[in-house]
Symmetry: C2
Subunit: 354 residues, 2 copies
């Protein structure tokens, strides 16, 4: 029932997914039975792969998470997540209110990691492939252990979603030297280096490495991640606007634009946001599809959900999470040793980040 378009897009996406995916995927559709039924009638051949679960109530797109949570029981969103807990569904997918989906998922499924709330991961295009980037918005205050949890979850997600056997992992910072950044990030760096986790950790990366594809998975706290993501989205929007202005600024430019139009449309599609972001750290698979998703986007999100459900994703996370207490217990080198590696840095120890 969620998203900007509601049932028409979701059901068209289900029809696409059924056509594209091997026979083993079937659907529980939670929401208004009449609205869903009317849309399903347009796709006659999907009925045997779909069950409708009626609910009278929906979570509004603009409700505050806490407000939505209080009256969420019995909504289509609640029921979809509950079906994951009950083992009726292998994954839940929603284009609805993100904050409400997080709060409801956390309440119903509980966290498997030691996070405040589920981590939100996104995929950023790069010249070679995509960067998995997290946390982009849920966990503001992150200590070193939380950052390491993000690394474990993001790495398992990247493997499941993109089929990369051993994804490389980087930690977002303002420079690549060991002494850069604040305490939490330096401590997480040390644990990832020395903690004996099963990760291909490559060290610190910087903001421009997100779109460069320097590593497969980039980890940061939810404050920095949200701001970096929105900054990039804003920069892309601004550049698109300026590009449009430039290409309509003169007759030759406009003519050029029409000639280049198919290529530019392909360019724009490549820049568009990913269709689905998983909520990581829950005891169950929940994905958020963006509100404006088309049926094609939503169908792609269904494919990601199916890939996650079929992968060894949750077990891999659990396996690495069990190593975390031992990794956290590895002692930091004594002050004297650390001081020896950067003799006399003193005042300028952190250096200037440029």
């Amino acid at each position: 029932m969620g998203g900007d378009h509601g049932p028409p897009v979701v059901i068209a996406a289900v029809a696409r997914a059924i056509a594209a995916l091997p026979g083993s995927v079937s659907f529980l559709l939670h929401g208004d039975e009449a609205a869903i039924g009317a849309e399903m009638a347009k796709h006659g051949d999907i009925a045997d792969r779909v069950q409708i679960r009626h609910s009278d109530k929906v979570v509004g797109m603009d409700e505050k998470p806490a407000q939505a949570l209080r009256r969420s029981k019995g909504t289509s969103m609640w029921n979809a997540v509950e079906a994951v807990r009950e083992g009726e569904a292998a994954a839940a997918l929603s284009a609805g209110n993100t904050g409400a989906l997080m709060a409801i998922s956390k309440l119903i499924l509980r966290m498997s990691a030691d996070l405040e709330r589920p981590a939100l991961v996104t995929s950023i295009p790069t010249p070679r492939a995509v960067t998995t980037f997290l946390d982009v918005g849920a966990n503001i205050d992150c200590d070193a252990a939380r950052l390491v949890e993000f690394a474990i979850m993001g790495e398992a997600f990247h493997r499941a979603a993109h089929g990369v056997p051993k994804p490389t992992v980087g930690l977002l910072n303002v420079g690549s030297e060991d002494m850069k950044g604040h305490e939490e990030v330096r401590e997480a760096h040390r644990i990832l280096r020395q903690g004996g986790l099963d990760l291909d950790y490559r060290g610190f990366v910087e903001g421009d490495d997100i779109t460069r594809g320097a590593v497969d998975v980039i980890v940061t706290d939810g404050f920095t991640g949200n701001i970096a993501l929105k900054s990039m989205e804003g920069a892309a929007r601004f550049m698109n606007g300026e590009l449009r202005n430039a290409l309509t600024s003169s007759l030759p430019a406009t003519l050029g634009y029409f000639l280049a139009r198919p290529a530019l449309l392909k360019f724009r599609e490549r820049m568009s946001p990913p269709p689905a972001a998983p909520l990581l750290g829950l005891n169950g698979i929940v994905l958020k599809c963006h509100g404006g998703a088309s049926d094609r986007d939503f169908a792609q999100a269904i494919r990601v959900a199916a890939d996650l459900a079929r992968s060894d994703f949750s077990a891999e996370i659990e396996r690495n999470m069990r190593r975390l207490p031992a990794a956290l217990a590895v002692e930091a080198p004594a002050e004297g040793v650390a001081a020896q590696t950067v003799p006399g840095e003193g005042d300028a120890a952190q250096g200037a980040a440029e």
Copy 2:
């Protein structure tokens, strides 16, 4: 002597600036007398406005700040900043090593604000004008008072550099509600709201507001600012690369590209980084010009330096800084009051940021 090009660019820029600026601007050029003299011979009419101050030593572009600092006395960079302290120059400008310039400036001029090191400010293009954005790289751990200092300095800079009488100020966060973000940012928000500072503070802004131009000045800590800036630069570089690929992907697209080329070059120029960033919080005006600056960029940086030197910039900052202790002493509302404004938020109090 600094930057990618050294004296040829700097002296060509001085010639440009002398031609463009009213008669009152003159120059001390610090560096190798022979190299400077040879370049000056190409611009015969500038000799009466320029004094050469010879120095044998230079700071290397790749030296670590601490290392550079130890052997910096008598370098051209050291002498240029010292001339500001001695009152011989109204502002110092360098295209050299940023970290070394910060460390040397801090040592010679001392901080006027209570910062670890000078704040670095940048200008981001927006559809309407530019956003002044700071701190982009020097101060990693910022408490609420530091963020308020950035607001005071950034606002005065924006007025001096862009002639806006009363710039609007925003604080970078993951959402616009009062309870969003971490403690430091919420506390700074409260001080900026209630502290009686002479600022047109508009509240929280988000990452995409940087390029939207929602406010004139956007303030954040050096960790987040550096990562947001580099993320945007990376996104812009990636988009330019993809655009180039798109426009050479077919014959019509390439033909279109040639027709649109002048407009696209103007577009690229509009996206290029600003020529100069002031180091804020020092007892004196120091500007960093980017290393790859052309003589035109460097001449524009000279204009900004002259504008700052002529403005009431330093006095305005000092006036507002004197109000800071009183602003910091304004009591936070009692917990009960705060709780009343967000009844029952509980677990989801910070909400999810999307």
